[in-house]
Amino acid sequence: MADRLASDLLRPVFQTTGKFYALVAVLGGIVLCGAAAWGYQLYYGFGVTGYNWPVYWALHETNFVFWIGISHAGTLISAILRLVNATWRRPVTRCAEIITAFALMIGAMFPIIHLGRPWLAFFLIPYPSERGIWPNYRSPLVWDFFAINTYLLSSLLFLALPMIPDFALIRDRAAGLRKKVYSLLSMGWQGTPKQWHRLESAMHIMALAILPIAVSVHTIVSFDFSMAVVPMWHSTIFGPYFVAGAIFSGIAALIVVMALLRKALHLEAYLLPLHFENLGKLLLLMSLLWGYFVFNERLTVWYGNSPHEMNVFWSTQTGDFAPFFWTMVLCNFVIPFPLLAIKKLRSISTAVIASCCVVAGMWLERFLIIVPSLARKSTSYSWGTYTPEWTEIIIMVASFAAMALLYVLVSKLVPIISIWELKVGEHPKSKVPAVVREEETTAAGELL
C-alpha cells in the first residue's frame, strides 16, 4: 500500500512528459506577455491604461482583492479541517495550501503593479526616514503590509513543514543532483516518533494561529475601502462580507484546481467524488452566506436612501453596471445553488461548473465594489466612468497564467498530495491504546 501510494504520487516528480514542457512554454509565454504589458505601462505611464479621474482604483485593485480572496482557499480551509480532524481532508490540504501561497504572491504584486513608479515600492515599508515619509500606522495600506506578509509567511511555513517528510521520501528514491537537493530540503529527517509528534504538534498550533490571521487579512483588505468615506464603501459589514466572499471564492478555486489536477496527474484514486461533494456542500453554504451579506448590504443602503449612496446603488441595479451585477448574482447564487443543493445533480462536473461560475462571479463582485463607488462619488461633477485598456487586461490574464504556471512547476517538485498524511488515514483505528509509559519520566530540560 505504502509503495503504491508513493509511486502514484511521486510519479509526476520523477517523470516529465512533453505535455509538461508544452504547458510551461504556453503559460510562460502568457506570463511574459503580462510582464511586457507591465513594462509598456511603466514606460509610457498610466495614460495607457483606462485609469482616469475619478476612477483611480480599478482592474489592478480588483485583481488584488480577488487574488487575496482566492488565497483563503488553502491555509484557512486546511486549518479548519485539520482542527476538526476531518479525515477526508488528507488529499485536499496540500493542493489548497499551495493555492494560498501563490495567490498571495500574485495578489501582493498588484499594489506594486499599480504604482506608477514601482521602484519606490519600499515607501510602503513602514520604516522611519528623514525624508518626510512617516511610517503611518493609521493607514490601512500599512495594515495590509503587515497582514499580508504575516499571512504569506505563516502560510508558506504551514505548507512547507509537512513537506519535509515527503522530501525525505524523494531523497531516498532519487539519485545525483536531485538527491543532493532533496537531502537539503529534507533537512536530515529520519521519521522518529519524536519528530513525528513535534511536527503534528507544530501543525496543530499553527492551524490555531492561522485561522485568526486569515480572517484578519481579508478584514484588513476590506478596511482599504470601508475606512474611506466613499458611497457604499463606508460600511461596518465590509469586514465579515469580505471574509465570507474570500472563503467562497477560495473554495471554488480549490474545486477547480483539484479537478484539473485529478485529470492531469491521474489522481482519480485519491481525489474522490466524496471530496468534491464535501467541498461542494461548503461552497453551497458559502453561497447562501454570500447571498445573505449582499442582501443585508443592499437593503441597508436602500432603506437609508442617502442620495450619495443611492446613486451608486442604482448604477449597479439598473444603470451602467447592472449587467455586471446581475451576472454576478447569476454566477454566485442562481447557477450554483441548484447544482449544489439538489442531490441528483451533484457530481464532479457540476461542482466544477458551479465553481467556475463562482470564481467569475466573485471577480465581478470585487470589480463592482471598487469601480461604481469611485465612478459615482458624492458630488455629481466628480462622476466618471472606467473602461479597461488592453494593458490591464493582459496583466490580468497573465496573473491567471502565472498561477497555473507556478502550480505546474510545483507539481514537478513536490507530491501534490501529502503522502504521509494519506498513509495515516489508512491506519486501523486505535490499534493499541497509546500509553505514555510511567518509566518515561523526563526531566524538564528534556521536555524539549
Binding site: M1, A2, D3, A6, P126, P128, W134, P135, Y137, R138, W143, F146, A147, T150, L153, S154, L157, L161, I164, P165, A168, L169, R171, D172, R173, S186, M187, G188, W189, Q190, G191, T192, P193, K194, Q195, W196, H197, R198, S201, A202, I205, M206, A209, I213, S216, W420, K423, V424, H427, K431, V432, P433, A434, V435, V436, R437, E440, T442, L447, L448
Partner: protein
C-alpha cells in the same frame, strides 16, 4: 558509530520487536524507531509526547506583541504626524499591527521549537535506511554494549525482521 537494526513490514511486527528489546532490559529511550509515517496508534511509537511547544508559542506571541507595541508607539512619538489635536499614539489602529505581529511571533516560535526539538536541520545520521521510505519500520539500537549485541540480534531475527543490519 555502532548500531544494529531490523526492518519490519508491519507495525505489529515492529511492536513485537520493541517489546522484545525492552524485555532484554533496554530502556525505551535506548531503542531507535523510524518510520515513513506517524504510528501513534502503536505503543512503540507513542512515547515522547510531552512538549512545551504551546507555551513557547505563547511566549513568542508575547514577544511579537511587545515588539509591535514598541515599534508603533515609539515611531509615532519620534516621528509625530500633525494630527490636529488627536492622539499621537493611536492605539485603536495600532491594535491591528500588534495583532499581526503577535500571531507572527507565535508562528515563528512554534517553527523554531519544532526545529530545535526535532533536531532539524542536520546531516542525515548514519543510523538510517532508505527502505524506510518504502514503508519499512526501523527498530534498532545505537551504540549497544557488546554484551547486549547477541540478545538484540536474537530478538530482531525472532520477531521476523525482513532484514537485520549492523553498522560500524
Amino acid at each position: 558509530m555502532n548500531a544494529i537494526y531490523g526492518l519490519y513490514n508491519t507495525p505489529d511486527a515492529a511492536q513485537r520487536a520493541f517489546d522484545g528489546l525492552r524485555a532484554q532490559g533496554l530502556p525505551t529511550r535506548g531503542i531507535s524507531i523510524m518510520s515513513s509515517e506517524p504510528l501513534e496508534e502503536w505503543e512503540f511509537a507513542s512515547h515522547d509526547h510531552e512538549t512545551v511547544m504551546p507555551w513557547i508559542a505563547v511566549i513568542g506571541g508575547g514577544l511579537g506583541l511587545t515588539v509591535a507595541y514598541l515599534l508603533t508607539a515609539i515611531t509615532q512619538e519620534v516621528w509625530p504626524i500633525n494630527t490636529g489635536g488627536m492622539p499621537i499614539v493611536t492605539n485603536w489602529t495600532n491594535i491591528i499591527v500588534m495583532f499581526e505581529l503577535t500571531m507572527l511571533g507565535a508562528v515563528l516560535a512554534t517553527v523554531f521549537t519544532l526545529f530545535m526539538t526535532a533536531r532539524l536541520p542536520r546531516k542525515l545520521p548514519q543510523l538510517y535506511d532508505p527502505a524506510i521510505s518504502n514503508g519499512r519500520i526501523l527498530i534498532g539500537v545505537a551504540n549497544p554494549q557488546d554484551s547486549q549485541l547477541d540478545g538484540i540480534e536474537r530478538v530482531l531475527v525472532s520477531t521476523n525482521a525482513e532484514i537485520v543490519r549492523k553498522l560500524g
